[in-house]
């Protein structure tokens, strides 16, 4: 099993990082540009670090969907069918795809944080390791949502549309652009069911000087959200695979 997963992972990584390197660079550069934009807008000593991190979360969602597009490509060019005629199992294929997307996501977060800390020398008001932990967990949620997306549709265009609706919807309702506390009460209640709300709440606490162990409830909520989306994705994938086999 491990051999198969490693083989697929290597192939996926090669394809994503070498052939689609421009997309990777774009997705990593965009949040940095937005951060520069916010810092340029800095007025009366107020840093816009929070909103900059909100934008970074939005781009993590976009990148998660873009990394999982590989599965759609495989289905379109019938590579998926050819892989499954070998001894590779369906779960091994999906595991490799998810692992590949995870590696890319971690790499993207690291590139962003590294550029912010060492190239731009910015102080966002949060410890970078703590920030990485929160971003990693919201990244896992993004990946689980993207996995659900590829299980729902096998059309590249549809996935793109879903990715825009989800990434922007989650970012806005989750308070990535504006604080949830400033929103009307009804929207605040809806925001509780949006994973990005918990990530932003965690970041808000970190900005207020809380330690990482004080935000375990927010991290737990993100883990629960990602598990829910993964389970839902697996359920839908199993159902569609059964239909395909029959």
């Amino acid at each position: 099993m491990l051999e198969h997963v490693w083989l697929l992972l290597k192939n996926n990584l090669k394809n994503n990082l070498l052939k689609r390197y421009l997309s990777f660079i774009c997705m990593s550069i965009s949040p940095i540009l937005i951060v520069i934009l916010f810092c340029g807008m800095e007025t009366k000593g107020v840093t816009h670090g929070r909103t900059a991190l909100g934008f970074l979360i939005m781009f993590i969602f976009f990148k998660a969907f873009s990394s999982m597009e590989r599965v759609i490509d495989d289905r379109y060019y019938n590579i998926y069918g050819r892989i499954l005629t070998s001894s590779i199992k369906v779960y091994e294929y999906y595991l490799a795809s998810i692992l590949c997307a995870t590696v890319i996501m971690v790499f993207q977060i690291l590139v962003c944080l590294f550029s912010l800390k060492y190239i731009l020398r910015l102080n966002l008001g949060v410890g970078y390791i703590n920030l990485f932990i929160v971003l990693f967990f919201i990244g896992m949620v993004a990946l689980s949502v993207a996995t659900l997306g590829i299980c729902i549709t096998s059309n590249y265009d549809k996935l793109n549309v879903i990715s825009y609706f989800i990434s922007m919807g989650f970012s806005i309702l989750g308070g990535c652009y504006f604080s949830v506390q400033d929103m009307p009460l009804v929207v605040q209640k809806i925001a509780c069911f949006i994973p990005t709300t918990w990530a932003m709440e965690g970041i808000d606490k970190l900005l207020l000087g809380y330690r990482i162990n004080k935000i375990w409830a927010d991290i737990l909520m993100m883990i629960l959200f990602s598990l829910t989306f993964f389970v839902l994705g697996v359920y839908i994938a199993r159902k569609s695979e059964r239909i395909r086999v029959n």
Partner: protein
């Protein structure tokens, strides 16, 4: 008569072909409505003097006009892939004619796709578009024309257009629309570089033009924006003509 028939056939193909590809059409028609509603709702308490629905009603429609470039590039590349361009050449339709017909075809498509969000903004969200809403609509279409002509030029001069489109979709459009105020009103007074960049954003001029037309009855900015957009469209189309001549010489 024959030319008219050819033009109508090609327009029919663009419009029906793109409406069959429902996901992207849904995206361009309904994402602005979705964003207008949720951004308007979430920032209801943050705006003073102007309603949040008024602000986002305008800026989200202009923001979405930028994505016409993707529709256009996708379509032309698909045509190249299935060999439509060669077949058109055999039917004695020059590539220049093909591009001009495409420009107007996509403009018509853009008008159809923008219409639902425009109507929703007026009827349900109470967005004001000035004394003559049709004029604002034409100005939005002028921005679409810039993006469509730029997309057509890209398909002609760049080999790996997908990489460029990646950069446009993930960096240039979000960055320019942000500078133009698509995610909230901005002020770049503290940074001269950003102020200069925001002045280069076509969306910013269009948004500002519409707001000053609605609230101050001042048409000067919107007319400047319209002239800039039309000039850029003309320049990009000229680029296509020059590209065609160079191609002919090489042949």
């Amino acid at each position: 008569m024959n030319i008219m028939r050819q033009v109508l056939m090609m327009w029919k193909r663009i419009i029906i072909g793109n409406f069959r590809k429902t996901p992207w059409t849904i995206f361009l028609s309904f994402l602005p409505i979705f964003l207008m509603i949720i951004l308007g709702m979430t920032t209801k308490n943050s705006f003073t003097g102007i309603s949040s629905f008024q602000y986002y009603g305008v800026v989200q429609i202009t923001f979405m006009a930028l994505y016409n470039i993707t529709t256009c590039v996708n379509y032309v590349k698909e045509d190249e892939r299935i060999g439509v361009l060669y077949r058109l050449r055999m039917a004695r339709i020059s590539s220049l004619k093909y591009y001009i017909i495409n420009l107007f075809g996509f403009l018509f498509l853009s008008a159809l796709v923008t219409l639902p969000s425009f109507v929703v903004s007026i009827r349900f969200l109470g967005t004001k578009w000035g004394n003559v809403p049709a004029f604002s609509y034409i100005c939005i279409l002028s921005l679409s024309a810039v993006m469509i002509s730029f997309g057509l030029l890209l398909t002609k001069i760049v080999n790996n257009v997908w990489s460029i489109l990646d950069i446009i979709n993930t960096i240039i459009i979000p960055f320019m629309s942000y500078l133009g105020g698509a995610f909230g009103p901005n002020s770049f007074d503290s940074s001269p570089v950003l102020k200069l960049l925001s002045n280069m954003s076509l969306v910013k001029w269009l948004n500002e033009g519409i707001f000053s037309m609605v609230y101050r009855n001042d048409y000067s900015i919107i007319i400047i924006s319209l002239i800039i957009n039309l000039s850029l469209t003309f320049i990009f189309m000229m680029g296509l003509v020059i590209g065609r001549e160079v191609e002919n010489k090489l042949c």
